[in-house]
Symmetry: C2
Subunit: 94 residues, 2 copies
Amino acid sequence: MLRELDPLLHSQLRLGIMSILMSVDGAEFTFLKEQTNSTAGNLSVQLDKLSEAGYITIEKSFRGKKPLTTCRITKKGLKAFEDYVNALKDYIKP
Amino acid sequence: MLRELDPLLHSQLRLGIMSILMSVDGAEFTFLKEQTNSTAGNLSVQLDKLSEAGYITIEKSFRGKKPLTTCRITKKGLKAFEDYVNALKDYIKP
DNA sequence: AATTATGGTTTATATTATAAACTAATTTAT
DNA sequence: ATAAATTAGTTTATAATATAAACCATAATT
């Protein structure tokens, strides 16, 4: 039947973030902003949500004198992403 | 890279409705309600949106003395669904 | 003749997404 | 040296969306 779709992942921007984080080992805020074509504000909010859910970690540091935000997917996030994709298949299979 | 996801389809309930309508030739309101596990109110609203977008047709008739609402996907809806699925693949491919 | 059930629609509320405004520091140009 | 613009974000306000609650009309049941 039609399974539930994790509402945290069923959002274009958050799904895009997670999708990118699945394929890289850490992504910077600015990189995510470019790749997802989002505004900084929206990205900031959605990263926080993913972080609060434990799906990603957000590490704040400095590169030279500028702040640098680096995001990584967690084991929990990876599992959630896989579960989401599996559930989604019910909806989109031919 | 990451394509836009048609916001009309990127909703659990509307996607579920469309997914079902892809595989049957017409579905009744009550059937969709059962299969999607939604409330009548929510279903009614989402069906209207899909209908307004021209993704489905809603035919109202009577079965005996009771109202009967039958939904069908349109050619436009089919195209939109396929486009959505293709765009989504960017996000979920391994 | 009340009560309950069916098949919905409408309206109100909660949630979510997005945009706008702001902060703080750093470059660049004058 | 200082004003203007850029970078790298965060916070707050507003718009959009989803969901739930309340409602309506008719029919069937007790």
